[in-house]
C-alpha cells in the first residue's frame, strides 16, 4: 500500500513538471528553470517522506491473519508443609481464553531443571506437568517448581486453575500438598 502511494506521488510530480515546462514557454527560460527545480525538489521531498514512513525491512509486518497474541509466564508453587517434596504432577486448566503452552521452565533448587509434560494430554489441550528429584536435600514449605510460558490469543483474559494430581516424598509415598499459581 505504501509503495503504491509513493509511486502515485512520483507520477504526480512528473505531471507537475510537465505543466511547469509549458509555462516556461510563456514566461521565459529562467523562470521556467526555477519553477522546474522547485517542483522537482518538492516531488523528491514528498517521495522521501513517503519512503521514510515505510517501516524498515526488519520491522515490516503485515497485519496478522491470526488473532493478536500476547506472551505471559505463570509460576507454579507447591507447598508440602514440613514434608520434603521429591516428586509432583499437576494439571493446568483454563476456563476462559485461548491459551497455549510454548515452553516449560524449571523452578527453584532441585526443581530447577525443566519439568516433563505429557504430549498425549497436550494434544487434547490438557497440560500435565511433572518432575522428580533424587537429591538428598529436598525442599520443604512453599517452593517454586515450574514456570510455564504461554501465549494467549484473542481479547479474553484467561482464567487459570491448577490442580495437584500428586505429590510424593523421597520414599515414593504420597504426601499432602497445595499448589498455587504465582508470578
Amino acid at each position: 500500500m505504501k509503495k503504491f502511494s509513493v509511486i502515485s506521488m512520483l507520477t504526480h510530480a512528473s505531471k507537475v513538471d510537465f505543466q511547469i515546462e509549458n509555462q516556461s514557454l510563456r514566461c521565459g527560460k529562467q523562470a521556467s528553470k526555477i519553477f522546474k527545480t522547485l517542483a522537482s525538489m518538492l516531488a523528491m521531498m514528498v517521495a522521501v517522506a513517503a519512503w521514510a514512513d515505510t517501516p524498515e525491512k526488519g520491522d515490516r509486518y503485515e497485519t496478522p491473519t491470526i488473532p493478536p497474541m500476547r506472551f505471559e509466564t505463570l509460576g507454579i508453587y507447591i507447598d508440602a508443609g514440613d514434608k520434603p517434596l521429591a516428586a509432583y504432577q499437576f494439571e493446568l486448566t483454563t476456563s476462559r481464553g485461548d491459551v497455549k503452552i510454548v515452553g516449560i521452565e524449571g523452578g527453584q533448587g532441585v526443581f530447577s531443571k525443566p519439568p516433563y509434560y505429557d504430549p498425549a494430554a497436550m494434544k487434547q489441550d490438557r497440560v500435565k506437568v511433572g518432575a522428580f528429584s533424587l537429591a538428598d536435600e529436598l525442599p520443604t514449605g512453599k517452593v517454586k517448581v515450574a514456570v510455564l510460558h504461554v501465549v494467549v490469543s484473542g481479547d479474553l483474559e484467561p482464567e487459570y486453575a491448577v490442580k495437584l494430581t500428586t505429590a510424593a516424598s523421597k520414599d515414593g509415598e504420597k504426601i499432602e500438598a497445595e499448589v498455587r499459581l504465582g508470578i
Binding site: A87, V102, G103, I104, K113, P114, G130, F132, T165, G172
Partner: protein, 690 residues
C-alpha cells in the same frame, strides 16, 4: 532402596510424561581388538528408534586405545566474509583471523545400549554482531532418529520446548520473534534434514539448543554401526521444482528458490563452528573389534562390553558423517527382544535374524543391473570409489548371470540395449565402459531409475539392481514413487558413496526394493562393500514370512509390510503387545523350499527400555511416510501428525517450539543470519553449489 521406591512412583504417576530410565544389557567374556573389515552392510527400513536418558559410563579402567587414520590437509586460507551473513574462521597465510559465526559449537553425546542409541545434541549459538540476530541453521540427523526432546538454554535457565502442529508453531514463533521474545523453532524438512531457528539473540549473548533423539543401530554379521551425520550435502533439484533443498554460495540466500536452502562456504573458507562427539557403548556382550574410518577417535575401555569413544580434537570440522563400527562376541546380540509396558500398554522391538540354513541354499540365476551416478557431485574421489567397486562387482559375476551397466547424470545411457550374458568378453566390455565414466552434470536420478527398471524382466532370473550414488537430490519423493511404480520383481541394493551420502534416500530405496543399503565412505574398503553385497545376493532370501508370536498377542507391527530376510541381515520389527514373550516361530520360503525356525526368547534375551514406545511411534510414522509416496488420499499427513503429537515426536507436520516469555529483548529483532556450512569432504564446490 529409596531410589527404587521413588522410581516406582514415577512410573505410576508420570509414565506418560516421557520420563525415562535406561536398562542395562547383559555381559560376558573378555574382549580382543584387531584390525577389521570396514564396510558394514546394513539392513534398511529397520528404521527405528526409541528413548532413554542417562549419564555416560563411569570409567573403571584407564585403558586408552587410539585408532588413528591418515591426517588430511585442513582447509586453508579464505577470503573475508561479508558481515552479518554468518561467522567463519578466516585463515590467511602467515596470519590468522577469526570472524565468529552465530553457531560456535556442536556437542554430541550418545549412549548405546544393545542396538538402541540415545543421543543428545547441543548447538551453541552466540551473537558476535552489534545488532540482534535470528540464527538459522540447516543440519542433518540420522534418517531414523526419533527426536523427542528440545530444550532452549538462556543463561542458566532451561526452557523445555513443546511439540506443536508445524503451522501453528511457525506462526507463534514469528509472533514471538516480532515482539522481541527469545524463541527457538525446529522443523523437519526431510527425515534426515532439519532447520533450527533461534530468534532475538542479543549482541554478545548466547542461546543453546539441546535436542535428544533415539534411533536403532544398523547391524550385519555381528557388526553394529553407529552413525552421526554432520553436514547436509549439496542437493540437485530438477528444473521447475520448488520443494527441494537448494545449495547456494554463502551470502546468496534465496537464490535457489527452493523451500529449504543450505548456504555453503567456498573452497578455502573455514567455519569457526566445530564439533565434539562422545559415545558410550554398552553392547551387552564383549566388544571384540572396533573401527572408525571416518574420523580420528580415542577409545576408553570400561569393561569388555563397555567402551567410551571420543572424537579427537584434531578432527573436529563437521564436514562428514561420523561412522563407528564394532563387532561383538558371538554371532548374535544378547537382547534380541526389548519391551516396555506403561499405562498405554506394551511395546516391543525385536531384531529378527534370518535362519542359518539360508547359507547352504543356492541362488537362482540373476540379472544384475549396475547403476552409477555420474553427476557433478560424484566427481573426484566418490567417482573413483564407485568405479572401483563396480569393476570388482563385474569381475565377480557368475557364468549364467546377465548384467547391464547404466550411468546417469542429466541423462542416462547404458552399456548395451539389453542385459548381456556374463561372458569374459562381455565383462571386459563392461570394464572398459566403466573406465570411461566421468562425473559431470545434474542428477536426474529419475532417468537412472527408468533405465534400470523400465525394460522387460527375464522371468527366469532374479533382477538385482545396484545403485551407487551419493543421493544428493532434493526430489526424493519423486524417486521413491517411481521405484514403487516400476519395481516389479526386482530387488534393490543401494551403496551410499562418499563422506555424507543422503542415507534417507538410499535406505528408503533399498527398503522399497526388498534389498539392503551399505556405505562406501572415502576411506572404506570397496572390496568389503562389494563382497558383502555378493554374500547377500548369493543365497535366496527368506520370503513370504509369517510369524507366530507365541504367548504374545501382537498388533500394529511395523514395518507394515514384512521384509524379506537376507543372509547376514536381520530386520527390526516393532509393535504393541499383550501377554508374555516366549518363543517366536517363523515360517517362510527360500526359493521353492519351506523354511521354519524358532527364535527362543529366554529372560537372557529380553531387555527393558523405556524408549521403546518412541521407537514404535517413529517407525509407525516412517511406515506412513512410505505410504505417502504412492497413496495421495490426503489422510496420511493428519495421521502422521496425530502420532507425532501424541508421542511428542518431530515429523514433517510437527515442530518443536520454545519461547522465553519472561522478558522482551529491546528493539527490533534484527537481521537473519544463515549459518553456512562446508561442502562435505571429497565433494567439489564448483560442481555442486549453484
Amino acid at each position: 532402596m529409596r531410589k527404587k521406591a521413588l522410581l516406582s512412583f514415577v512410573v505410576f504417576g508420570l509414565a506418560s510424561l516421557g520420563m525415562v530410565v535406561y536398562f542395562s544389557g547383559c555381559m560376558s567374556s573378555a574382549g580382543r581388538y584387531s584390525s577389521l573389515p570396514s564396510v558394514n552392510y546394513s539392513y534398511p527400513g529397520l528404521a527405528d528408534e526409541s528413548g532413554i536418558s542417562g549419564e555416560l559410563f563411569q570409567i573403571e579402567e584407564d585403558e586408552v586405545w587410539v585408532i588413528a587414520k591418515a591426517q588430511k590437509v585442513q582447509a586453508g586460507h579464505s577470503e573475508k566474509d561479508e558481515p552479518g551473513s554468518g561467522s567463519m574462521m578466516v585463515v590467511v597465510p602467515g596470519q590468522e583471523k577469526e570472524i565468529p559465526l552465530p553457531l560456535k559449537h556442536t556437542e554430541v553425546s550418545g549412549k548405546v545400549v544393545g542396538y538402541i542409541a540415545s543421543v543428545e545434541v547441543s548447538q551453541q549459538f552466540e551473537n558476535p554482531y552489534d545488532t540482534k540476530i535470528e540464527a538459522s541453521y540447516v543440519f542433518p540427523l540420522p534418517q531414523n532418529s526419533a527426536v523427542n526432546e528440545f530444550i532452549m538454554t538462556v543463561g542458566d535457565r532451561k526452557i523445555r520446548g513443546i511439540i506443536r502442529e508445524r503451522e501453528e508453531a511457525e506462526k507463534i514463533y514469528a509472533e514471538a520473534k516480532r515482539q522481541g521474545y527469545r524463541a527457538a523453532l525446529m522443523t523437519q524438512e526431510r527425515p534426515n534434514i532439519f532447520t533450527q531457528k533461534v530468534a532475538n539473540i542479543e549482541p554478545g549473548k548466547a542461546i543453546d539448543i539441546n535436542i535428544k533423539y533415539f534411533n536403532t543401530l544398523t547391524y550385519r554379521d555381528g557388526w553394529y554401526e553407529f552413525a552421526f551425520p554432520m553436514v547436509v550435502g549439496p542437493r540437485y533439484n530438477p528444473p521447475g521444482s520448488t520443494d527441494g533443498v537448494g545449495a547456494v554460495p554463502h551470502g546468496k540466500g534465496g537464490s535457489s528458490e527452493q523451500k529449504t536452502e543450505v548456504q555453503y562456504l567456498k573452497p578455502g573458507q573455514r567455519s569457526g563452528h566445530d564439533i565434539g562427539l562422545t559415545v558410550a557403548i554398552d553392547a551387552g556382550v564383549a566388544i571384540e573389534e572396533m573401527i572408525c574410518n571416518s574420523h580420528v577417535i580415542k577409545t576408553e575401555k570400561v569393561r569388555p562390553e563397555k567402551v567410551v569413544v571420543k572424537l579427537s580434537k584434531r578432527d573436529s570440522i563437521p564436514n562428514k558423517d561420523f561412522v563407528l563400527r564394532y563387532k561383538v562376541a558371538g554371532d548374535k546380540m544378547k537382547s534380541g527382544l526389548v519391551t516396555h509396558t506403561d499405562e498405554r500398554g506394551g511395546y516391543f522391538t525385536m531384531m529378527l535374524y534370518p535362519p542359518a540354513s539360508l547359507n547352504s541354499l543356492k541362488k537362482a540365476p540373476m540379472e544384475l543391473i549396475f547403476v552409477l551416478d555420474c553427476s557433478g557431485s560424484m566427481n573426484g574421489k566418490p567417482m573413483e570409489l564407485s568405479k572401483k567397486a563396480m569393476k570388482r562387482a563385474l569381475r565377480k559375476l557368475s557364468q549364467g548371470d546377465t548384467f547391464q551397466v547404466i550411468r546417469f547424470s542429466s541423462k542416462a545411457s547404458k552399456l548395451g540395449r539389453n542385459p548381456v550374458l556374463a561372458t569374459a568378453k562381455n565383462i571386459r566390455r563392461g570394464l572398459a565402459f566403466v573406465d570411461k565414466l566421468r562425473g559431470d552434470g545434474g542428477t536426474q536420478m529419475i532417468e537412472g531409475i527408468k533405465a534400470a527398471l523400465d525394460f522387460k524382466h527375464d522371468p527366469k532370473r532374479l533382477r538385482v539392481v545396484s545403485f551407487m550414488t551419493d543421493g544428493y537430490i532434493g526430489n526424493e519423493s519423486q524417486i521413491l514413487a517411481a521405484i514403487h511404480e516400476k519395481l516389479g520383481a526386482a530387488r534393490i541394493f543401494s551403496f551410499g558413496v562418499g563422506s555424507s551420502p543422503n542415507y534417507y534416500l538410499l535406505d528408503r530405496m533399498a527398503w522399497m526394493g526388498n534389498g539392503a543399503v551399505a556405505r562406501i565412505g572415502l576411506d572404506d574398503s570397496t572390496a568389503d562393500a562389494v563382497d558383502g553385497f555378493y554374500d547377500a545376493i548369493s543365497h535366496p532370501a527368506l520370503t513370504d514370512i509369517q510369524i507366530d508370536w507365541g504367548g504374545m498377542e501382537v498388533s500394529e507391527v511395523y514395518p507394515g509390510r514384512m521384509r524379506d530376510l537376507i543372509v547376514g541381515r536381520p530386520v527390526i520389527l516393532t509393535g504393541r503387545f499383550k501377554g508374555t514373550p516366549g518363543a517366536v516361530k517363523v515360517n517362510g520360503r527360500a526359493g521353492q523350499v519351506d523354511q521354519r525356525y524358532t527364535v527362543p526368547l529366554s529372560s537372557d534375551s529380553i531387555g527393558e527400555h523405556k524408549g521403546i514406545a518412541c521407537v514404535w511411534a517413529r517407525m509407525k510414522i516412517a511406515d506412513m511416510n512410505n505410504q505417502l509416496t504412492y497413496d495421495k488420499t490426503g489422510e496420511i499427513p493428519g495421521m502422521i501428525k496425530d502420532v507425532a503429537l501424541e508421542y511428542g515426536l518431530m515429523s514433517a507436520y510437527t515442530a518443536f517450539l520454545a519461547v522465553d516469555s519472561s522478558q522482551k529483548t529491546a528493539g527490533d529483532h534484527g537481521i537473519s543470519v544463515a549459518v553456512p556450512v562446508p561442502v562435505p569432504d571429497g565433494v567439489r564446490y564448483d560442481t555442486t553449489v549453484q
